[in-house]
Amino acid sequence: MDKAQLIAIIWNTIAAFFTISVFSFMYKDNFMYKIAESIVVGISAGYFTVLLVWTSLRPKFWEPIVNDHNYWYLIPGLLGLLMYFRFSPTLGWLARYPLALYIGIGSGIAIPLQLQTFVLTQVKATILPIHVMVDNRINPEGINNFLIVVFVITALIYFFFSLDHKGIVGRSATFGIWIIMIGFGASFGYTVMARVSLLIGRIQFLMSDWLPIVK
């Protein structure tokens, strides 16, 4: 066994130890789980600080000022620092300036893009050709298009509260909520799949990555 293999075994065993420590929570809350939980908080904050300094602050702020003499960058830098005044009881209002700029620009950009992405494009995509019969044959695509139009409209009626849900509106809304429930069922099925996948990832690590090299 060479040095590289030994190092790989040691690190993978550390990873396996923490994996099992977290799994132990399934039996009951314990000391090892809490330790693992605290380590995650510390490492995460430390890693992020280091990442932010070397890959964002240095190339995007420090070097343009120091190397390229782009002193304009001092203004957003100063605005960014003003954010920290939010912890001050007397000067907390200073933090409102960078926030104002951030929220203002963010909201201004968001208005047309949100409407375009989630409303206009979606409505346009619902206006579909409904050719249920083509050459005297049933066209499945046409039927699906017809169903999509009906399903979207009825589901939207369910969310429309400016009219009483009575009569035809009420029946459409009821049908609409059934469609939404089918969607929720599909989402639940996919959520199960996702959660199981995360477990598979850890079992794969223990069974395929760690055990074979330890054996």
């Binding site: 929570f25 330790i35 995650v40 490492i43 600080t49 957003p76 620009i105 409407l115 909520i177 429930m181």
Partner: protein
């Protein structure tokens, strides 16, 4: 004025400029847009450590006051300072360094395993609470079972129609349901953004 009105005025002016800019692709408006994005990135870089500051503050106080579980706060702070000490040079971010190994073999396994516990909880929840109590719950249940079966190889082995029905559910009723939710959310998000730009919504600034 400096404390309340001016920040609100800034929100409205830059918000309106940015909205109008979308519809006028002129070099001048493009320049303003570029500057806005450039500056926003820098403000963001400075704002990000706010969360870290809060985290350190909470744990330091917990240790100083010797509150219950202060020992765990020591571990958290130790983790932070070890990473900061190891991260003093930019090369620490390259694959294979001790800094990255701590991330890869300590942080990733813990974080990934914590989330994998959800597989156990969701199974337990399905067993205890996923009941066909009424028509709506029954629809959710049936749809979920078809999709769960349709997305695994055994579903196709039982009947090739199961994946077909699952595909249809995803592409037709699920798509329609998601779209209706999306349209509602889109209208809501745009409305909130408009209220912010027009100065009607002010709670994000800590004002009523």
């Amino acid at each position: 004025m400096l404390k309340r009105q001016l920040p609100m005025l800034i929100v409205s002016i830059v918000g309106l400029i940015m909205t109008i800019q979308y519809f006028i692709p002129h070099p001048f408006s493009e320049t303003i847009y570029n500057y806005a994005l450039d500056w926003l990135i820098i403000i963001g870089i400075f704002a990000m450590p706010l969360g870290i500051y809060s985290m350190v503050h909470i744990h330091v106080q917990k240790v100083a006051r010797k509150q219950t579980g202060w020992g765990y706060s020591v571990v958290a702070l130790l983790g932070l300072f070890v990473m900061l000490a190891l991260g003093w040079t930019p090369d620490c971010l390259k694959d294979g360094t001790f800094f990255m190994r701590l991330f890869e073999f300590v942080y990733i396994p813990i974080q990934a395993t914590m989330f994998s516990l959800l597989a156990f909880y969701i199974t337990s929840a399905a067993y205890r609470a996923f009941r066909a109590r009424n028509i709506l719950a029954t629809i959710v249940l049936v749809s979920a079972i078809i999709v769960m079966l349709g997305r695994i190889p055994i579903g196709e082995a039982i009947s090739p129609h199961i994946p077909e029905v699952a595909d249809w559910i995803m592409n037709v009723p699920n798509m329609a349901a998601q779209r209706s939710i999306m349209i509602g959310l889109g209208l809501g998000a745009a409305a909130i953004a408009m209220k912010i730009v027009l100065g009607i919504e002010r709670s994000y600034m800590g004002m009523d």
